[in-house]
Amino acid sequence: MQDDLVIDLQHVTKRFAGHTAVRDLSLMVPRGSVYGLLGPNGAGKTTTIRMVMNIIAPDEGTIRLFARDATGRDLSHRIGYLPEERGLYKKMRVLDLLVFLAETKGVERKTAKRQAQDWIDQLGLTDWALKKVNDLSKGMQQKVQFIATVLHEPELLILDEPFSGFDPVNTQIMKDVVVRLARLGTTVLFSTHIMEQAEKLCDSVCIIAKGEKVLDGRLSEVKRQYGGRNVVVSVDGGIEALHAILEDRALVAKADRYPQYAEVELTAGADPQALLESMIRQRLQVRRFEVGEASLNKIFVDLVGKEAATPRAEEEHRHA
């Protein structure tokens, strides 16, 4: 099992002058997963990712990649990294730049050229391949950055706030590419403070705040653990028929009654399945039984606090 961890952080701590950016963080990303590193701005996401990439070294703890003690830079040919603050050489031609960046990751020049051209065609930049980066629109530059990240066919993608600043159309294109690569077996670690993105893409998440882990696990488990306590039920015979069940204090903490249905809040630890079973046992004709999944955003706000969850515009990346 341990061998199948692509990223394995154990008790990692990083201090900067004056504050601790990451405290005792353990993080395990299994092969093939799409892993979301979530947290408000300044939570330590970028610091964590930079440590994974060995751009900065942790003060304490160990980091293993692909079950080896090698660092992110030594393995750069196996990793596609898209930093949060990203730029390109403005005066270079798009194709030259992509070939250069691939070469720094150890791709052979010829191969790099062919693959760069493939991706350029794929993302609709064919006419721009020989133009200077400066002549490209911001959206096109973002595509180029993205190509540079995936060009060398990495096994692991590390994307730091990948969609920040993208327009909706590009965001969709990039998401499609990430999903496609994930389906082909690429492991993806990406950080975001936008929960809707994580909800759509991730199968596992880790929420950190103020440099510490708040929770982690598979998204479905997280949702079951922290959400799933709101159920909407409706049976033949209307609200009267439900009366006995809604009075069961072992299951139902609170119920809002409406003529045709009820919104039920289960007691802590109660399983929605138990509610359904008792309804069936009473031979009720179930017309509607809907477990309202709490959104990741709600879980996040509940855990981290409203204040922390709201991105503050003036928060600077250097604290991140």
């Binding site: 002058a17 990439m53 751009i55 900065i56 992110g72 830079r73 750069s76 990793i79 990294y81 898209l82 930093p83 949060e84 603050e85 990203r86 730029g87 390109l88 050489y89 403005k90 005066k91 270079m92 030259d96 250069f100 960046l101 070469e103 720094t104 990751k105 150890g106 950055q145 540079a148 600077e316 990346h317 250097r318």
Partner: protein, 425 residues
């Protein structure tokens, strides 16, 4: 190692493709060509005659002698206007109009006082021409000598015979051997060495500064550091820009050599008849040893300053900030420049020796000394050893500052923070 090569190649190709490189590479030889052509064209233009009048109010015909002396192939042709002391000002007034109307370049007022105490006056529009005035002065003083000796009874022919101009030929001795180059050309070579080294180290050092700042401000550095070690990046950058420098200097040196060899052809193209006789002095003899010394010190000096510039750039957040922060580094380079004349006049003096030993000034001072005089091998060895040692230390410090600095944004670090950067492992 391969990754460094990738960085070097990108740096070299991208730099060589810039407009800046193309323009400066072409401009260099053009400038050199103009150094050859312009002085000769100027001399050529100087060959057009100036017409002046000698207004002679002396009683013994001194003016006629001056006119006689100016006759011949010289650039100033004179004619005599005899007058008297009483009318001299009114004659001058009427001549002013002629000078204004460009029929005349000027006129010389000669009186008895000229022979008595050397007072003489020239009015004209070419008074700012040093050569013209020098010609007039020397002709008049020679005539004065002749006139006064004549009064004492010395025949004119004897006076003429006794005035032999001195021609001092200087030959520099290097390593106990007489060379072909004259003292003047040794000076010229030293001067050229200084100019080339100063320009090259500054020019390409600043290029490194610009390259590092560009990577930082455009944030491309964030992508680069994920696959390249800062040391690889720094080394690639410095080597790449250095290669551009060597490439450009080679082009310049080759074109200088060709231009000089073909200067007759060049002059004929711009329409100057040389008749095979060249002015402007011989091309200084550049030995292989001199080239080796220049190259060695250029490379060492360039690496030294380029790493300092890179460290400075890594500390800065913007082009403007870097420009300000580079001033202390620049000053180190400017010092030997300010003291240049001192080194040239006394290549073996205490100051010259000291400057050629101090690692920060040695890259320029030592080759200049070498070009101007004979430097003991021991001093060269000592200077290179000191320079190499300092270079290694500076590269080590610069790499550490660079490594931390490239990912730091915001406030510029204080000296104390810098120390922490350097100590951080």
């Amino acid at each position: 190692m391969h990754k460094i090569w990738v960085v070097v190649r990108r740096e070299f190709l991208e730099k060589v493709r810039t407009k800046w490189f193309v323009i400066s590479t072409v401009l260099g030889p053009l400038l050199m060509a103009s150094f050859i052509v312009v002085p000769i064209l100027m001399a050529e233009r100087g060959a057009s005659e100036r017409k002046i009048l000698v207004v002679d109010a002396s009683t013994d015909g001194f003016g006629a002698g001056v006119v006689q002396a100016l006759r011949g192939p010289g650039p100033i042709q004179a004619e005599l206007v005899a007058t008297s002391v009483g009318r001299i000002e009114s004659v001058a007034d009427s001549l002013n109009a002629l000078v204004g109307g460009k029929a005349l370049d000027g006129y010389l007022l000669v009186t008895d006082a000229t022979v008595a105490d050397g007072t003489v006056e020239y009015r004209g529009k070419n008074v700012s021409s040093m050569t013209d005035m020098e010609i007039l002065r020397s002709v008049i003083s020679r005539e004065l000598l002749t006139a006064r000796l004549g009064r004492a009874g010395v025949a004119r022919s004897i006076v003429a015979e006794s005035q032999i101009p001195v021609r001092l030929r200087t030959v520099s001795i290097r390593g106990g051997k007489v060379t072909d180059s004259s003292g003047a050309s040794a000076f010229m070579l030293a001067y050229a060495v200084w100019l080339v080294l100063y320009m090259a180290i500054l020019l390409y050092g600043v290029q490194v500064l610009g390259a590092v700042v560009e990577e930082k401000t455009s944030r491309v550095i964030e992508i680069l550091v994920s696959s390249l070690r800062p040391v690889q990046l720094l080394a690639g950058k410095v080597l790449g820009v250095g290669a551009v420098g060597l490439f450009q200097i080679s082009i310049w040196a080759a074109s200088a050599w060709v231009l000089f060899r073909q200067r007759d052809l060049l002059l004929r193209i711009v329409g100057v008849q040389t008749g095979g006789v060249m002015g402007g002095g011989a091309f200084p003899e550049v030995s292989l040893g001199t080239i080796a010394i220049i190259l060695t010190y250029f490379l060492l000096g360039y690496f030294l300053y380029a790493s300092m510039f890179a460290a400075v750039a890594a500390m800065s957040n913007s082009e403007a900030e870097a420009r300000q922060a580079q001033i202390p580094v620049m000053m180190l380079l400017v010092i030997p420049t300010i003291l240049m004349i001192g080194i040239l006049q006394q290549p073996d003096g205490g100051m010259a020796v000291a400057l050629s030993m101090i690692p920060f000034t040695a890259p320029i001072a030592m080759p200049v000394r070498w070009a101007a005089a004979t430097v003991p091998p021991g001093e060269i060895a000592g200077s290179i050893a000191l320079l190499l040692g300092t270079l290694m230390l500076i590269v080590w410090v610069a790499a550490r500052i660079y490594r931390v600095g490239i990912l730091m944004y915001g406030k510029r670090p204080s000296p104390r923070e810098l120390l922490r950067w350097i100590r951080a492992s």
